[in-house]
Symmetry: C2
Subunit: 376 residues, 2 copies
């Protein structure tokens, strides 16, 4: 994996870069659609490529381990082949999912023992077997196994989690060095900076992980209930330390506003379920603002879903038709809304990149934010 | 609307024809995917065209009247524009749906009063207002308002229903003559032959409706619980009477076997929810037989969904992947299965047409039936 910075903004910390993987080049800043169990919900890979124009997607080790299972993925020749997605894939390590299980998991220095959310069966994740699973899945970018404390965790707990995350990251790196990729291409390990909303712990976490010389770094443990101000402050603290020549991935974030504000703070990569999950609930992100398509006000609105976006779902169908699909509970509504929202997110990243390259990012951000964040 | 017969089979009664509408030419025999409320469930119109290769789709007056309403469809410029489908559309009259409401409807000579299945509100359908609704919807082919008795109805009831259907067909024809199409193209009225499983009533219904000189005829009141033998016998009885130079549409039928057997008996057009509904339940029609994709036997089967069908859904994904999508309850599974099944139905019609044109329909049918109807 290679990362090249094409331009760093002078008024902000925004960066435009290119990340080269075995499955293609990713132009950053980038948003990664979430394909938890090997499918971006409701969107076939061909449309993901042509309509969403996704450059990389995210999948989840935890979910894929439970279903269809990493052994089956190995037989299939890896996740790319299994799901027929030809572009790059990043897999999360399962750390976040396991720690979301709360009462259903138990933590030791060795790893995490947990009960499946599907059938209650018991499983053990360790830094080592999580690396092996990600070898079997075959993602281009794989995440270290981390401990992600809850948003309201006290400082002592956050410190313990950071220290364990550090030891686990070392074990991940060692395991990866002892094993080979299964499908003939390299897999890049990103370590995850923890530290909650405590600047000192964040700095320490970043500094210590940098010593591992990973090809990229993620900022984890945010978007877990803290305020946007806390999130931005922590991103600033961490990005001050992270090496400029390596990609930075802010996990699980966020709204279009969150994305632009964090790009301004030097983040290169994002993922979030919001565009697909909110889309399935009838909430549309458009170039003209945020729409609840179920509202009566759209019943007779025969204007396109999003006239500002040059995509099939955005231009072909009217708001009245999309509302009808939601009111009638039709599958096509979920698909079109997901396509619109993901296409919007990817469009926003493309526009941001262009603005950075042309040295007008700050002005562009100030212009576009009121327009795309207004409720219509 | 114009109907041309390209060839009539000499060993069977199969016909290959072309039906020209304002929205395109339909090559018969043809299967019409069902788009009840203005969407073929889970399939966007572009894929309906390129992947399913649908030539005409069906929508329902009853459902569209309730949601989004025919006034709204008028404002939208008709159903074609509302749903962004450029090809021909046929609308059923609502007769079948209303008579399915059983306890929630009351019949008089004037029409049918019924309660909405959505909110229990009261509505009245008459031959006249059903024609007006179908004017507003703007389908290329519209159906007369009929009384469709249940499959186990006694002969006296079936006779009464046939006689009322006849009087209603006359009223439909008159109303259509008194009104103009709303969107600048002609709409062709098909009358519906009733008569249950009683040959004498079927003959009388056909003979009397032929006098109305409609541009096409449908056979209704079948596929309502009777045996396949009864269905085939009734189709034979009716098709002996129907004029050869007009298209014949068998409503609500059926399995791939039903389609081929009825093509052999001179039917040109079909519709059925089976490919989409069964698809959503994980039942796949393929060129190699019928598959329940949820079965454990497909868990590690990395062969294509249907190697014999040259379509994205059929060739790109493995049975193991599609099974995974169903087991995980993923939306994409419903879409891919629906695409596969509809593409298979349309492929089957295309192959049947080719076989008729080349004078080898009977042999082809005998060859292909065991293959496509086997349970795998």
């Amino acid at each position: 994996m290679e990362f090249v910075l094409d331009r760093t903004d002078t008024q902000t910390h925004a960066r435009a870069g290119r990340l080269t993987t075995a499955h293609g080049v990713i132009e950053t800043p980038i948003f990664m659609p979430v394909g938890t169990v090997g499918t971006v919900k409701g969107i076939a890979p061909d449309l993901l490529q042509t309509q969403v124009q996704a450059q990389i997607i995210l999948a989840n080790t935890y979910h894929l381990y439970l279903r269809p299972g990493t052994e089956l993925l190995k037989e299939a020749g890896g996740l790319h082949r299994f799901m027929a997605w030809k572009g790059p894939i990043l897999t999360d390590s399962g750390g976040y999912q396991i720690f979301s299980l709360a009462e259903r998991r138990k933590l030791t220095e060795d790893g995490a023992r947990f009960q499946s959310h599907i059938d209650g069966s018991y499983h053990q994740f360790t830094p080592e077997n999580v690396m092996d699973m990600q070898r079997a899945i075959g993602a281009d970018i794989i995440m270290a196994f981390d401990e992600c404390p809850p948003g309201d965790a006290p400082e002592t707990h956050v410190r313990t989690a950071h220290e364990r995350t550090l030891r686990w990251a070392e074990r991940c790196r060692r395991r990866l060095g002892e094993t080979e990729p299964l499908y003939g291409y390299d897999q890049a390990l990103f370590a995850i900076v923890q530290g909650g909303i405590f600047p000192e712990i964040r700095r320490e976490s970043a500094d210590r992980l940098i010593e591992l010389e990973c090809p990229g770094y993620a900022i984890g443990g945010l978007s877990v209930g803290e305020s946007a101000e806390h999130m931005y402050a922590m991103v600033e603290v961490v990005n001050e330390r992270l090496p400029a020549h390596k990609p930075r991935y802010l996990m699980g974030v966020g709204t279009p506003e969150n994305l632009l504000e964090n790009i301004a703070r030097g983040v290169d990569m994002f993922d979030c379920v919001m565009p697909t999950r909110n889309g399935r609930n009838g909430m549309l992100f458009t170039t003209e603002g945020i729409i609840n398509i179920r509202n009566l006000k759209w019943q007779r609105d025969f204007s396109p879903v999003d006239p500002g976006l040059d995509r099939y779902a955005s231009r072909t169908f009217t708001k009245a038709y999309l509302r009808h699909l939601f009111v009638a509970g039709e599958l096509l509504g979920l698909q079109l809304a997901s396509l619109q929202n993901l296409a919007f997110y990817l469009w926003l990243m493309k526009e941001a990149r262009l603005a950075i390259l042309e040295g007008r990012f700050l002005g562009w951000k100030q212009d576009i934010l009121p327009r795309i964040t207004q409720r219509r």
